[in-house]
Symmetry: C2
Subunit: 206 residues, 2 copies
């Protein structure tokens, strides 16, 4: 059985923790605010702790805003070695809402991988608004989680997501995180302009 | 009424010419091979010519592969002034299928705009496989054409596309072409890996 640590108890953390629990994984929730971690852990039948506690999961989902990735990498360092880190962030420049804050030929996921070379970083969930992960539906059709990174680790994450009842697809190696982040940004732009709602987005159709 | 010149009589050119005709636009088809241009023009009730002929349309859709954009810009130069050029290309590196051939902080559309400063370049149709423009359906749900560029020109194109029976949405200024090209590439990657078919893709759901 998989074990999943979710760092962050916000909308994304809540949705991913519930998905992991539904998949039958052991879930640990870590948050800065222990009460929030405990509340989420209780909802999903998991354990709780604070950021800085050792992660118990094979998968560690960093359900935090982009700027917090560097903090987590600094906090955990080699304690992330051997784990599959899941980066869900969209490094949007919120000052301008006109681009990403990472270099054009890079990605938040690539930066994270460079900061924690002993871990295996996957990009996932950044192309799904949190509400669509929670409901499994994008607008009126099934949601699909897109995953980029190491093939074996990505296949394991896809299996976990599918066991939780959501569709998932591997798009390629971690280099594809760049396109996933562009995709996630575009989707946020459309929601911010009210072209779509935050329960909608781009749905993968065969 | 709008007038549309489509340069290129391949799958994308055919689908866009049919869409424009359905919208009630006057359609001109230009291709290297006059016979192909004539065959398509006949199907859509338009006129035909060869590449290099003066474009008659207010909109000029460059339904050609990415490398041909530079050729068309060189061939037409200032003859494109005042026209709304529609760039449909995905500048994929087909040698590696592992990225785009344009600089990471640019796009094919931005390059085209720089080459023909007297025209107004829009990015559109590159996030829709040709078959989905032809049928109006992505997989099993309505297709949506995403458009980036000058707000007035983009609104005019959206109006034309909607008059042709397809959904369309403006994503923002031409700078967003970078994200649209990443999106188009990602969709091609998924089709090349048989995760989706060429009649599928990402469908925008509200």
């Amino acid at each position: 059985m998989s074990s999943v640590t979710v760092i962050g108890a916000g909308n994304v953390g809540s949705a991913v923790a519930a998905l992991a629990a539904k998949a039958g994984a052991q879930v640990q929730v870590l948050a800065r605010d222990l009460a929030k971690a405990q509340a989420l852990a209780e909802r999903v039948g998991g354990t709780a702790g604070v950021v800085g506690d050792d992660p118990a999961g094979d998968f560690v989902v960093l359900a935090v805003p982009y700027p917090a990735l560097a903090e987590l990498a600094a906090t955990y360092g080699a304690r992330f070695d051997g784990r599959i880190l899941v980066d869900v962030t969209n490094p949007v420049d919120f000052a301008t809402f006109d681009g990403l804050t990472v270099p054009a030929d890079s990605s938040a996921a690539a930066e994270l991988q460079a900061a924690v070379p002993g871990a295996t970083v996957l990009k996932a969930f950044n192309t799904n608004f949190a509400g669509t992960v929670a409901t499994g539906v994008t607008g009126d059709v099934p949601a699909t989680v897109l995953v980029a990174g190491d093939a074996d680790a990505a296949a394991r994450l896809v299996e976990l997501i599918q066991a939780g009842g959501l569709a998932a697809a591997v798009v390629g190696p971690l280099k594809r995180a760049r396109e996933l982040e562009a995709f996630g940004f575009l989707q946020m732009v459309l929601a911010a302009q009210n072209v779509i709602g935050w329960s909608g987005g781009f749905a993968l159709r065969k």
